[in-house]
Amino acid sequence: MGREPLPLGEFEQMILLAVLQCGDDAYGVTVQEELVSRTKRRVSSGAIYMTLDRLEKKGLLVSHLTEPVAERGGRAKRCYQVTKPAVAALTHSRRALANLWEGLELAD
């Protein structure tokens, strides 16, 4: 049996899913735009950066720097990608939620 996937908080899941949705261009700005457009809720920018950083430290994200560009005041962009352990953790969370939802039907 493999190592048990890391447990994920709700916001961490949302960040990882947003990174996946953004594809190759997943950085602070695009992750926030993706979250706001898909969840229709206001998200604190500070929380996004802290969570991205925390997820990277946990090994669930990796980042790389692009070339510096003038639009960013000559600074490089830090782009994120989801790792295999993150995919495993997301899948595990989804399966767990699906199991909990099974047989339930709630009216809006």
Binding site: G28, G46, Y49, E71, G73, R75, K77
Partner: protein, 902 residues
Amino acid sequence: MQTLWRWLTDRALAESIAGDLEEQRRRRAEKSRVMAALWFWRRTASIALYLGRSRMQTLLARVFHQKLARSGGIGSDLSYSVRSLMRAPAYTATVIGVIALGMTLATTVFAVVDGVLFKPLPYPDADRLVAIESGFNNLPAPVFPPTTWYKRLPGNGASAQDIASWQAAAPDASITGIQARTQSMGEGVNDTPYGVGLVQRNFFETIGVEPMVGGFAGSDFDHETLVQPVVITNELWLSRFHGANDVIGQTFINDPTTGRGFRVAGVMPHGFVFPSAGAAVRFIAPYVASSHDLSDPTRRSLREIIARLPHGMSIAALRARVETGMATTAAALPTKPRRLGLSDRGWRMEGPFNHADVVPLASALGVVERPLFRAIFLAALVLLALGGLNVSGLMAARGLDRARELGLRRALGATGVRLARLVFLEALVPIVVAAGLGLALAMPLLHIGLRLLPDDLVLLKPHMEAAIDARVVMFVVLSAIALAVPTTIWPIRRALGIGATPLGDGSRGSTRTRSIGRTVVIVSQVAGALVLTMGGALLVTSIMAVYANTPAIRTDGVVVLREQMQGDPGMIGAPDRTTRANALLATLRRVPGIDGVALTEGQVLDGGGGVPWWAPPPAAARSRLDVVAQAVTSDFYRVLQPQLVIGRFPTDAEMESDAPVIVVSESVARAYWPSASPLGQTLTYLRVAVPFEVVGVVKDVRWNYWDTEVAAIYGPFARVSRSGNLTVFIRTRTSAGQITAQAIQAITAFDPLIKTTRSGTLDALFADTVRPRRFQSWLFGSFAVAALVIVGAGVLGLMAMSTARRTREMGIRLALGSTREGLVRLLLREQLMSVAAGVVAGSLVSAWAVRFVRASLYEITPYDPRVWALAIAVIVITTVVGTLIPSLRASRTDPVQALRAE
């Protein structure tokens, strides 16, 4: 910004955040740069606050909570209090901000005024030191200009002979005289004047402090020398001479043409302050009586007299001995004829003293500054108290919000003491943080304040020591404790009162009490803020009036040079002086760029009063008007263009021939000929036989200070000039700096014995004279702004908490048909009753308090209705805004959500 991010997080994340913000800002700037900038700063603040909080929580959890929470007792309560405060960031930030604002201002003010108001005098046995103020019994009242910034010291000084006779009458005491003044130490034109104190030979013995190195020789007091020996203060030794070991014996020549200069003979010890209320002295020099002083015993050139009481002698006893000495002097004084034009007061003051006041030196020093500093310090304390009141209200309101939690603690066994400790600690933590913040912010504010302080203010401590020292830190600590105790009494009482219904919300039966409490807080805050706002508004309006009123001469494009003609004979109308002055004018007229040049020998921006050179007409012989006597040359009226009221200016022919014609100012015309036309009238000038005819009347000009019109008489230079101290006015359309340099060069080349001592544009020189007034306006204006911020924040905070508790009531009202506008009107009406009461209370206090600024006002009275209306309007608007914001939020309550909420 980069530094901010790197402080809050690691470098990699910092770069990422900074880059993302910049990218989004530029994108938004394509639509609107202003909105982009607003968005940028809002987003930056939001991220910074989040990261800062996170970092703080992590730090506290690691270092603080784990240790303290396990420690139990106070440690655990402290840990809980900090966590509780972190969960209410808006409340915590408001409390810390309000107290820090008050603490910053109060600390800064204390650091400055400490020397004058609180610090004991830095001399051994200082309570045995007294000041002797010489005077006259039954002296007629003086006539001074209504707004004068003269340093008018108490007493009338003394001559060396006076002091000798007082010493003879009290041989056990040690009596010494000093003369403190500001003078140039010769670094060039416009060099910074220093305070110089001339002292008698027993000065150091009387004060009880000797130079730490060097000193005066006995012969230094016997005769004047070209190179004057001076003992310098420790602060000057460090700042100007960089603490050099070989400073003793160093010689500095001020004036190469005459060889005048000074030689450093000694250095005073660290912390020494020269005991003068007249100037902040840095150089101490020996007093040598001049031949004039020796020949005329009524020349009282020693302005301040200090004595050391021997043990066993009281102040009253010394006073009696001094008056005995005065009687001895009076008997020996030769009689002299009364000068024409001398007022009764002036005549008495030329006679012998017959009255002495002896006061402790501590109350004599700083006598000019003390009223101002007291007012400033009181204002700072009012501000601090305002902040404390504000915070007390917020804490009490927060306590009500926590009533249920505190009731639960009671039910679970917490004692009243434990609850009180919890509430106290939660109040103490932000106060301590605010005190630290206030101390940190006071440092840069103190630097700004010291730069704005007029140079001649006596602080009674070296400028370098007007800093954050141990006494200032102690003040902050004591203020924090003094603030914490009363601020928490009310919330603690509330917390202790919760025990009766432990699981209730603590609000049953206390709505009225809450309402009264909130009303009291708001009324007090509004009243306190109104007092400070009123003071600030009066002083700011006053200085605006100063700048708005023109000085009645043309000042734009005029450069002023102060010239000293060495070798002047000092006689009235000396022909040699006129020849030199005319040649000087001809030289300057040849300088390219000069459109007109004239000069006067008279008081110009020297701050002095007039000497009675012109005799009033017989019908006005008793007039006590101070008149400035101007001796002017031919182009004077063309260059300065004084505003003519009636009559005419002297013609060119009259000016060329030095005809005995004069122009007088309005005040002179009113005082001397109240019911007749001044034109054609005549006046006589001291020791000049021919009478002078009045040909014109001009408006009074502010010859002494920017804010004081003075009476003046303008006569022909050749006939009425008295000395070689001249003021040259140059009209030019080119750059003032360039013309000044060229003119000074031309003067030096023409005659090296004519020395330029000061230069500048007339506008700038006038403006410099109102530096004290500007300082006051800045200071009290700052207090007013701070008070408004505190009141606004306080009202907003209290209203926000109050409306939050009334959510259910708001919901019911809306459900029953009330409109949102009606709800806002209801809340506003409730609040404005308290505000109105506060305005009434504040107005009553202000009506009493504004008398303290009366002497500082220009062309307005302390009860000017426009200023009062403005101050009240500002307070009302501030409180209305503070009320409106939470009211509008409350009116947007969803009735369904409100009714569901408990």
